[in-house]
């Protein structure tokens, strides 16, 4: 009873809350980092150095009036943000934060596929949100979003297959273990795949320079133009949770998950005093920082250029990488 119900439930509660809190602070981090990049201070009023802004923002969003446009499809309009957020949270069921079962909810043998398939459900939130708003800009945005997400999902999935070829397992724990045994992060084994997954990840999470579905200067906010209050914040949470998910995937697949740098080099063994989950979370935040940094630096792609990049560059390169990996795997 304790083993099968209470412990997993407790883990779920802790995990969900941790993710949601991380998201609110991620928003603060984004605002601060971008502000520093732009020679500003960012939020400074709430709490010391604006730290409590992360709490003030959710409170504000919850208290705001939640407006449903009169001509919107009410059920779908309500459902869309939920469909957007839930998959982003469900993914954490298989993310391993450390080596032993205490650190993860479950280790299923198709863990990687599970993540991919669950995140692919998240696109419904965006499509339906745009459609149900019954408004033109959101509709355009949701069309863009769905086309974008489907195209980049193909590229990312193809690339991940080449990593699976190297490891021979779909289990996330197994992938990290393979990196420990090999003594090398896959970032060095599969550098092309790393770039592809990272670029594809930027596109899948609708982040700059691929933030077309919510390009506020073109589509006035995109698919969530008509949303307000709590329902808007669900979309918001989903976007940032997806950022964490993509960073987690990149870290697990290419940067050795919870492993310390160069786990097999004895000279660096002292790094082991840092607990594995801190390594994991630290690496995730490093990637989140890169996400934010890119947003502060780059302009936005145009829709057709984005699709061209996806279909004419990323997917062929992903297939090529897969073929080369296969050949090397057989040859060696």
């Amino acid at each position: 009873m304790l083993e099968t119900i209470v412990v997993p439930l407790a883990k779920i509660v802790v995990l969900l809350n941790a993710v949601l809190v991380a998201v609110t602070f991620l928003v603060l981090m984004e605002r601060k980092v971008i502000a520093w990049a732009q020679s500003r201070l960012g939020p400074m009023r709430v709490g010391p150095y604006g730290i409590l802004q992360a709490i003030a923002d959710p409170i504000k969003l919850i208290l705001k009036e939640d407006i449903t446009p009169r001509k919107a499809d009410k059920y779908v309009f309500t459902l869309a943000p939920i469909m957007s957020l839930v998959p982003a949270l469900v993914v954490f069921a298989v993310v391993p934060f450390g080596p032993d079962p205490f650190y993860y909810l479950s280790d299923i043998n198709v863990g990687l596929l599970f993540i991919i398939s669950v995140t692919s459900i998240g696109v419904y939130g965006i499509i339906l949100g745009g459609w149900a708003s019954n408004s033109k800009y959101p509709l355009l945005a949701s069309l863009r979003a769905s086309a974008q997400l489907i195209s980049y999902e193909i590229a990312v999935t193809m690339t991940l297959v080449s990593v699976i070829l190297t490891t021979g397992t779909l289990s996330l724990v197994g992938i990290v273990e393979a990196q420990r045994e090999g003594g090398l992060w896959f970032a060095f084994v599969q550098p092309v795949a790393l770039m592809l997954v990272f670029i594809g990840g930027l596109a899948e999470t609708n982040r700059a320079p691929f933030d077309l579905p919510e390009a506020e200067t073109e589509l006035t906010g995109g698919f969530h133009t008509e949303y307000s209050g709590m329902r808007f914040s669900l979309f918001f949470l989903a976007e940032y949770a997806n950022m964490i998910v993509i960073s987690a995937i990149v870290v697990i697949m290419f940067f050795g998950g919870w492993l310390q740098p160069f786990p097999n080099v004895p000279a660096l063994a002292f790094l082991g005093f840092v607990p594995p989950w801190i390594w994991f979370i630290g690496k995730i935040f490093l990637f989140l920082y890169v996400f934010i940094w890119i947003r502060a630096t780059l302009p936005r792609y145009r829709y057709d250029q984005l699709m061209a990049l996806g279909w004419k560059v990323l997917i062929p390169v992903a297939i090529g990488n897969l073929v080369v990996t296969g050949i090397l795997k057989v040859a060696l």
Binding site: K71, N134, S135, K136, L139, L140, L143
Partner: protein, 257 residues
């Protein structure tokens, strides 16, 4: 593509200029003549709050005729002027010179000939239409001056062409020569009510579509009918063509502010 599914979304082209167009359309229903709508609107005002009748200030007595000073004696006409005099014989009625600017005054029925010559001839080559505007001189029979400011990017000289027209006289559009004249002529039509013919898209441009009267005419009062309605919310609400829903009063306060 998607507008079949989404046509009810209320963002369609025609209806989303609520404030200005709404006010304008109301004005359109008033039978007031262009000249005295202010008095009309004041007369129609409901009794409970008699407002001091805004008296439209009479426009200052305009001069009888515009000043088109002839060039001083002995001054040689520049080549562009002599060229147009030769190129379109009889079209140039008068040549004027003032503070360094040359102006030719042209018969309205010969306008296009002259303009085409000015654009195409090598000695003039006015390829750039800087400005099209007008001035109103009410007591005169041909009350409007339509003024074209031309410039040549090749020869770097300027010339103004002026035609005098009455209220009903049509003026040929020069958009076929300079696409630049499109909006400028629309503005002339919008502000003066000068009838531009053969214009591809003659609509109001600065004022709302349904506006009555032509604001830049000298007999148009400074306080226009639209402003009068805006000042009195009750009046404005009454004639407003929007569905009067519950709480329209509170709504109106917000909108007036």
């Amino acid at each position: 593509m998607a507008d079949e599914t989404k046509s009810q979304s209320g963002q369609d082209g025609a209806d989303s200029r609520p404030r200005a167009a709404g006010a304008g359309s109301k004005v359109a229903e008033k039978p007031a003549a262009a000249g005295k709508p202010a008095a009309e609107a004041a007369a129609r005002k409901p009794a409970p709050k008699p407002r001091p009748k805004p008296k439209p200030k009479a426009p200052p007595e305009p001069p009888k005729a515009p000043e088109d000073q002839a060039p001083p004696d002995g001054m040689e006409l520049p080549k562009m002027v002599t060229a147009v005099q030769a190129g379109a014989p009889g079209a140039v009625q008068q040549v004027s010179y003032w503070v360094g600017d040359w102006t030719v005054i042209v018969a309205v029925d010969r306008l296009l000939d002259v303009m085409r010559f000015l654009r195409d001839d090598d000695s003039t080559s006015f390829d750039y239409c800087s400005d099209v505007t007008a001035a109103d001189w009410p007591p005169r029979e041909k009350r409007f001056d339509v003024v074209y400011c031309l410039y040549s990017t090749r020869l770097r000289h300027r010339l103004r062409v002026k035609v005098r027209v009455g209220e009903q006289d049509p003026v040929e559009s020069v958009t076929q020569l300079w696409p630049a004249a499109d909006w400028l002529e629309r503005e002339v039509y919008d502000q003066f009510g000068i009838d531009i013919v053969n214009h591809p898209d003659l609509r109001r441009i600065l004022m709302p579509e349904q506006w009555q009267g032509y604001p830049q005419r000298k007999d148009y009062p400074l306080e226009g009918p639209g402003e009068l309605l805006m000042e009195n919310p009750q009046d404005w609400l009454r004639v407003r063509n929007l569905p009067d829903e519950a709480g329209a009063g509170a709504d109106a306060d917000v909108e007036i502010e």
